[in-house]
Subunit: 547 residues, 2 copies
């Protein structure tokens, strides 16, 4: 049996284009003599459709689109992810579903049993779980069709399974001998190699059946799907792997497989680099933008952001803006110019001193006798934000903010200032990982000026200001943040890891008190196991670990 894995990149709610792509992949798979072509989870609607799932008109158009696709299926069979109606009297109105299509007809429909409802996932919000599970006879095989989370609950693989039932075990017990899983499984660093692939190999060996795993690819808002679709044979050997972060059509003969292959391996920083580029490119394209504009401070965060943007969009679509004040060092200006030259991007220089002084004059009666403080620091950041937004408004550029995760965690950033912008590209990249990215970007030649990497980080909003005046060293900060934000550890546990109690309390207090800033932050790309944003939902008004 020749199975085509169609690893495609869809846009949420773009039914005509989504259908066109699915049909073109069906055609390509047929030409390559595949018996069956398999598409990712919810490939008709794009994933995640979020609250459009509550709009009946959206469900209707998805069903009409599925019918159109079905009418184009002949001389090949297809498995397509879509939203099915729940026809029962109770429960949620729709199912997350897979259609098995043959000879222009939907032969059977398979519902998702396990609905992830944690982190960025909200599937219990929308979907009714499967009430029946049944395998499908196809050629000489019996296919066990499952959807994403359905394979993530093996009792032996996971120390504590989240769900009581195991749909894979059920499918096996009903006689399935080829497992097909359609997924929209988002990227986080090390997830594919360390979890997903190991789990699939474990399951194939356990049940002695091949696993065909088809994952979505591309970016949708804060999530990037890495593709990496794979085929594992009945001996638990990886025999095919589709591209990472790119569309792919991979045809595999599962009865006469090629020899075992080595998994394509990338270092963690390589995958983060790919994820950020793919995610940014898709956000820009899917939102209808062409060019981005970035404030260049001469520091490492804006340099890394600009370098990634050039890789995602090409240098002619990236505009840098230098906005020096009297606190900006000549070195910073030089570093930003050098970066622009290295990247081959246009840059503008728009000094903020006059506007800043006019604000001060406007406020001088009001603030008479009160010393310069964070008010004036924030004002400078806000003037820069306003200038970037003016360029955005005038020319239709998307503003990229350049803040990293460590800053966002502790509120070392200005609302409506450096946080102004439509997409916060590296907002889930901890500062220590920003350094790694910079070195990776420079792996062949100096793109990011070395000085931006080696100089002590500074916001340059007052004289002789350095990040480390108000924050612990970034390796300490990032260690505490990982323990608190990603691993949800309490104060006592973090102290036991070996961090200083006073520092731990101060950092956690800052994280908790700055939720209000993050609530107003632009979306960014999730790369860690716990990003701020939709995957971490915290109250603003509370009093837990705030003292």
């Amino acid at each position: 049996m020749k199975i085509a894995l169609a690893q495609i990149n869809q846009t949420v709610g773009d039914f005509p284009k989504n259908a066109e792509k699915i049909c073109s992949y069906i055609e390509r798979a047929r030409r390559r003599n595949a018996d069956l072509v398999v598409f990712p989870e919810l490939s008709v609607t794009g994933y995640p459709p979020k609250d459009f799932l509550d709009v009946p008109a959206f469900i209707d158009e998805n069903l009409r689109t599925l019918d159109t696709i079905a009418s184009r299926v002949y001389d090949i069979s297809a498995i397509v992810g879509f939203v099915d109606r729940n026809k029962r009297r109770h429960g949620k109105f729709v199912h997350n579903a897979a259609a098995f299509i043959q000879d222009h007809k939907i032969v059977s429909v398979h519902h998702k049993s396990l609905l992830p409802t944690y982190d960025v996932f909200d599937e219990c919000r929308y979907f009714e779980p499967a009430h029946t599970i049944s395998p499908v006879k196809f050629m000489d095989s019996i296919l066990g069709i499952s959807i994403c989370e359905d394979i993530w609950n093996d009792e032996e693989f996971w120390p504590r399974p989240l769900y009581e039932i195991d749909p894979i075990e059920n499918l096996i017990s009903y006689g399935a001998n080829v497992m097909i899983n359609i997924s929209s499984s988002p990227f986080t660093v090390e997830k594919h190699d360390k979890i997903r692939l190991r789990m699939l190999i474990h399951d194939a060996m356990k049940y002695k059946v091949p696993f065909i795993y088809v994952n979505q690819v591309g970016g949708n808002d804060d999530l990037v799907f890495d593709g990496n679709s794979v085929v594992i044979n009945a001996q638990g050997r990886l025999i095919a792997q589709a591209a990472s972060f790119e569309e792919d059509l991979m045809v595999v003969d599962i009865e006469n497989p090629a020899v075992q292959i080595q998994p394509r391996t990338y270092s963690p920083i390589e995958t983060v680099h790919m994820a950020l580029i793919a995610g940014l490119r898709d956000y820009v394209i899917k939102c209808g933008f062409k060019k981005v504009v970035i404030g260049l401070s001469g520091g490492i965060d804006s340099a890394v952001t600009a370098a990634l943007a050039v890789e995602a969009l090409d240098n002619e679509n990236v505009v840098g803006v230098l906005m020096p004040s009297r606190f900006s060092s000549q070195g910073s200006v030089d570093d930003a110019v050098k970066l622009s030259q290295n990247l081959g991007i246009a840059y503008k220089v728009i000094p903020i001193q006059d506007v800043f002084e006019t604000y001060q004059k406007t406020l001088q009666t009001e603030f008479k006798g009160i010393p310069f403080d964070s008010t004036e620091e924030n004002l400078q950041a806000r003037i820069r934000g306003n200038i970037l937004m003016a360029l955005s408004n005038k020319y239709g550029y998307l503003v990229l903010t350049t803040g990293n995760k460590s800053e966002l965690a502790v509120g070392y950033c200005t609302l409506y200032g450096d946080m102004s912008g439509g997409f916060a590209l590296i907002s889930d990249v901890p500062k220590t990982m920003v350094y790694e990215l910079a070195r990776y970007i420079n792996r062949e030649k100096e793109i990011i000026p070395l000085n931006s990497i080696v100089k002590p980080p500074s916001a340059e909003l007052k004289p002789n200001q350095f990040d480390q005046d108000s924050l612990p060293p970034y390796d300490v900060l990032d260690g505490i943040l990982k323990a608190y934000v990603e691993d949800a550890r309490g104060i006592d546990e973090i102290i036991r890891i070996g961090f200083d109690e006073k520092v731990v309390r101060e950092i956690i207090r800052k994280v908790n008190r700055n939720e209000y800033k993050r609530r107003q932050a632009a979306p960014g790309i999730k790369v860690t196991s716990k990003a701020f944003g939709l995957g971490r939902r915290m109250p603003i008004a509370h009093n837990f670990m705030c003292q």
Copy 2:
């Protein structure tokens, strides 16, 4: 049996204060000779604790706090909402639970069966549903203890129940003859009178048992809990109703009840008015602020916001700021001054013209030959935002934004401009309801200058600009928005209601394309059945109904 309904206002994660309040209500109920005192859902932690439920240290402190509370229970019994651990091998780590406490001991624990996971609710994200349901013998009665959503699934009351099981039916079948429901049921306009109370009366009549319903009160971020705890007797008659939007301790003898009472009725606009005041007061207090600052344009939105703030916080805690430009009419300035005088609040006048001109000079080379457009309009709004934030930074005021729901829906607002601020008080109030609120605020005397109500609304960001130049009349706009946002109707359905197709398409396109602005909006108070924010989760990058 005398039951005390303890309708309290807790703060999320403030365990010492939450415990202190619960203990003081236990003491008060004992002094009033109650046999049983009942507290709302999750009264130990505050509701909603959101992702703190994923932090083991939070669960631990909640359990220790419950033990402390239990040690103070004697000569009275108590039912207290808390987070219990799930001791099974599968599933979510915790239960939403009620502890039944007697003689210093937790006698039994009752888990919530139905976990709301829609709109603002995420309970499947955190909680494992009840695996067993059992009533409790108490004095001569058998208590059926349930938690919030557990009572919201009656087959006869709801046209299409969301869940397959009905815990109330189960409790009755196990012999319960007094039903106790502990809730944290947030306010939306008309929900109490038109749904909740009717449902409770329906259920009491259906099962012929009394229902004791104890609801949380107070604001937590975007949600306001209205209290309105009630006792319905076995004949389905309302015999007691606690305060709306205020803490209350109500002791009711359910065997020897007072005669039937009439439900206290408020008009919809009265309840919205109370909800906004209660929600703002709690947000300010629970976030640790004292004073708020509001930009006063002379228009109706900022006038209503300021008037509500004065009712919530008193006039000495509200500061108005007039920031006229050369596009501001003298009438607007006069209206803002008159409002400030009527409210008795301090106001400052900080003109923005100099800063605006300096921005224009700074950008003149860049924007040479390009006409004045929304860029310059937005710049003015952003200067005002910056000035308010400067006052916030310098003095520790909370900035209230003044935008209404209709503007936010169609993006008729400026990111980092008039959207700057920590709390968007009326962001779920449609413009037509803002007018109703203004008239209600003026019910006894002119507080909001009549001119602010009757003049055509204008952003005054360019000469002769009126809202209705770019938007349909507000009654049309609000009609379309209710159909699309609140009722999730498709384009065809909205046209069938009687709206013009071109207008409908244009409005829906604007709503869909402006999700990026709303993602960065400050939280506001939910008053309608569907507020923007955490209850409406839409993708930004998509292509559904965008053309």
